[in-house]
Symmetry: D2
Subunit: 341 residues, 4 copies
Amino acid sequence: MSEQSTSSEVTTFENVPLRPRRIAVLTAGGDAPGMNAAIRAVIRSAAATHIDVIGVRRGYEGLIEDRFESVTGRGVANILQRGGTVLETSRSEEFRRPSGRMRALQNLRDHSVEGLVVIGGEGALQGATVFHRESGLPLMLVPASIDNDVPGTEYSIGFDTAVNTAIDAIDKVRDTMFAFERVFCIEVMGRDSGFIGLSVAIGAGAEAVVVPEIPLDIDDLCRRVEEARLRGKQASIIVVSEGPRTGGVMPIATQLERRLGIKSRIVVLGHIQRGGSPSARDRVLASRMGAEAVRALSECAAASVIGEERGAIVRTPLDHLHERQRRLDTSLIELVYRLSI
Amino acid sequence: MSEQSTSSEVTTFENVPLRPRRIAVLTAGGDAPGMNAAIRAVIRSAAATHIDVIGVRRGYEGLIEDRFESVTGRGVANILQRGGTVLETSRSEEFRRPSGRMRALQNLRDHSVEGLVVIGGEGALQGATVFHRESGLPLMLVPASIDNDVPGTEYSIGFDTAVNTAIDAIDKVRDTMFAFERVFCIEVMGRDSGFIGLSVAIGAGAEAVVVPEIPLDIDDLCRRVEEARLRGKQASIIVVSEGPRTGGVMPIATQLERRLGIKSRIVVLGHIQRGGSPSARDRVLASRMGAEAVRALSECAAASVIGEERGAIVRTPLDHLHERQRRLDTSLIELVYRLSI
Amino acid sequence: MSEQSTSSEVTTFENVPLRPRRIAVLTAGGDAPGMNAAIRAVIRSAAATHIDVIGVRRGYEGLIEDRFESVTGRGVANILQRGGTVLETSRSEEFRRPSGRMRALQNLRDHSVEGLVVIGGEGALQGATVFHRESGLPLMLVPASIDNDVPGTEYSIGFDTAVNTAIDAIDKVRDTMFAFERVFCIEVMGRDSGFIGLSVAIGAGAEAVVVPEIPLDIDDLCRRVEEARLRGKQASIIVVSEGPRTGGVMPIATQLERRLGIKSRIVVLGHIQRGGSPSARDRVLASRMGAEAVRALSECAAASVIGEERGAIVRTPLDHLHERQRRLDTSLIELVYRLSI
Amino acid sequence: MSEQSTSSEVTTFENVPLRPRRIAVLTAGGDAPGMNAAIRAVIRSAAATHIDVIGVRRGYEGLIEDRFESVTGRGVANILQRGGTVLETSRSEEFRRPSGRMRALQNLRDHSVEGLVVIGGEGALQGATVFHRESGLPLMLVPASIDNDVPGTEYSIGFDTAVNTAIDAIDKVRDTMFAFERVFCIEVMGRDSGFIGLSVAIGAGAEAVVVPEIPLDIDDLCRRVEEARLRGKQASIIVVSEGPRTGGVMPIATQLERRLGIKSRIVVLGHIQRGGSPSARDRVLASRMGAEAVRALSECAAASVIGEERGAIVRTPLDHLHERQRRLDTSLIELVYRLSI
């Protein structure tokens, strides 16, 4: 949100203390497994409490371009288990501008929408925060992001599935590790945060992990791989978060090969981690959070992030989200090393 | 533990305030995916902190029958991802008797074991509690139980995998649901608690769930299936916990068929849920809990359950476990019905 | 097809030697993973060769009830990987009567359909054979049946997926086998043929298999389990085909328990085997067979079963299908025993 | 085999027409899922027919370095379902030299081995052919290679699993395809042959495939992707075989991005495809081929490749393998394009 919001000409929702009669739901930003489970929970919870619900296709862009469509409880049958999002998503440049948001607001008013559920990640939250501040529209964010970096919740929908997918892949690599002396470098998602990388490294029993939060120390990395060889490990697995902060898997593989004189092999998991049928945890989380978002709107709660904190489903008002970035518990990196003796 | 413990003749560990030099690890009771990950974490954490560690085969029975064997950090390579337990397990009648426990204690002393990690569920905890009270042996319980019913922790190792396994199975049934008018009755584990049943029902989008905590109301069940048909659902999925308290899947399927005049089909998942490669969550939990158990022993903490409570790894001393049975949040049953409109 | 066909009043297709301008496609009988891949292949192959194609919902019943709907190549996007059938299926009593088939024929003529692709199993083939004989409608059967019992082909679509699903399930049971002395009895599909049972038994490394083709010899079964125990096997896996010919898993489990005095545990896989994303093999087979069905129609070939025989895609005219039942190679049962030493 | 074999000083096996009393088994070259299933089948079939069997660790290198170890039928319990090879494998430079092979022969004689089963791919076959020609040792090759390029068989063990693994991965990418305009380039194995690439492209419904057998035509590729966009496809999937002949996924992704002005995303599956639990097909194939190899040795058959040809298990004598390279049916590439309308 680089631009400042300006006073809007359309009437805002500032004085709407009543239970909404109609709400809208959309998915925004990068998609995540479990978004469909959240959509289903929002739509069916609304139906169960006699709140009208309308779907918006392609995220914030759809708000602007008036891609509203009616949905029913039966219409979301059989989507719980599907990856992706039936409402589709987008990254909207237009919504970053006051003019775009004004058009969005006007469309919402034209459709008599009195509350909004946004299912998305950190970027979606930023858009929602500005939009709510300007418009006063009652609004709940259901956190869905494989990066698990949404403030106001310890877990975001999609993270568990993405970690499972990466670990399953590395398990297969592990089967083939015992034949040849090699370093396997596995690139996972998370360009700005190491949540995926760290969980994957622990869960897959990696020898080392390179995350964006900690500057790469190639000497240290080489030393660890070398020590593993001396302890009798033929092969090592290094998990590397993608993106410019780590440099990705290629230069690291090259360096290891050159310095240690052993062959390296790379795997780039890429968008595999964004898809797939959501895990049990992501489905249950999405179901509970989606239901809670509707309950919060029906209770006229302040615009909030729906979160799971300390095991419970909670609401954190958008203006209480002081800390904009969730911090990685880097002490767990030590656990990776300790358990990969 | 029906019998009372009597005074034992072998010296107990009551006055051992020192960091143990050697510990033992075993798995007891029904097995659960992730037990191997916990074994690995215990053994490697001990090695990393220079505590000697010894494995005991076949649980409490192995303590009694002196099935101790030396283990090394390298020896548990490549087990993290495997279901089952490389140390094997058992249900020991002998350990329920003071004479059995005395022999176990003598064997532990003979092997100079000064601390014990027990990986297991509710039954293992009962045995551990009596054994610790009698012997004073420093002891940590790492909760592993697909039933998720261990007090002192919100999650037990294996539960997440079992729920994922059952949901994957039901997803396949769902593919085939749209052809014929049918009720599918799926029997899942959990004879004394509905944790699996309830999570599976939410995650699989079941139309109804029957758990041991709530007496079966067959009229209500028939009414719900009938209403689902009227809403346009051709087929319904009913998740049923196994065991005498629900009666299992057979009589329910028969009743539904007779009363509603539609065909029913059954699936009995059985031991499928006990096996399989552990999920990401179970591996990370097992790794953290196993490491914490060793840390607790090395810090001479009181005999405790290692738990995950409100998102953090905690220790609850055995004598603080007042509530012997974890309670199911039955309000979530309402969510099943609400989301299966 | 118990009834004989009578002379029909609607004109038949007997003299249509020309390349069809429009064809229809349907799925009939029990569903099988890969049916969607076959539907996609038929529709897109037709589109690529400029033949009009129309979908019929709910199998033969849909022919009778005029559930025709236009389909496009783009309309079958993203179904290749899905279990079930987007065209739905049914078992039609009405189509067994001449009157039903006459109505079906009239509807086909009304929609100017000049060729038909039926995707289904043995029952669908019987219906197709009678229908073709009466009507002369050019017709290709694409064999899809998890039972793998369609004459004219060595493999039917869905069989490979069903076998993989059952084996995956048994793998999980195997993880948990080594703790307790037990017999696990696993019921798989195939009430009239042991193709699934036998492949599952070989692939899962079962100790024994009970198929409909060979009368159950409970004495022999008990002896084999007993011998396995004497060789050091704690637990055994018995794969049992469902249905009245074997008696299913229950009585066998009871007998084993009573005679051998060891605990038995049952798993009933049921409809799990009918669903799930199709395997690579089923997708490739469905894609090739669907394309071949359209090619055969466009070449005005005789009404045929599209098959895979000796590794090649072949056409067998319906009236050359002398042998109505594929025979199980029971010599492979010996392989099960030999490899489960 | 760059060097010519010279006359060897150790006695050869030329005149051993008798049923071998002892055989050895090894795995050579790149590993493949199902090798363990084949090892198990060889060892247990031998045991069942009272032939002594001995395992050789690390392939041909192990023959030279005398890494023979006794194995038993019970000792290969619970390996059927595991990826990798419990006997480990290697690529042996030493075995390419007459001196190395002579030492191997001497070791075999010292252990009284009268027959050898080699489980491996094209490279292993070359070594076996030279070795047999020189030594006369009765020898059977069980083809295991994810590349599926072994002459004398239509299917090699591991191919089916590798294709399934790649397709599962692409399915996940597909879930996430509908949000953004993108080209996904997926690199699969098969540097010298397009069997994996082509089957994966058909099974995953890719828009295009680039295999080593056909020179890359980047103009044609761009045109196809462009046409797919015009037909309404937001995203396309291109499957690319790894290696110097295609150039791999990187340059293709870059070109597509530059020429078409849409974003590309890459996935490099790498060694994921070599691991994982073998598929049903690979297990059954491995079981049958392993048993057949032992049968062939016990019948004093000529040194052969055990193969699956036209649906049957066959033996092709090594000196009848005229065609050294299996040819890809490139006509199926047309099917990829036809079905991705």
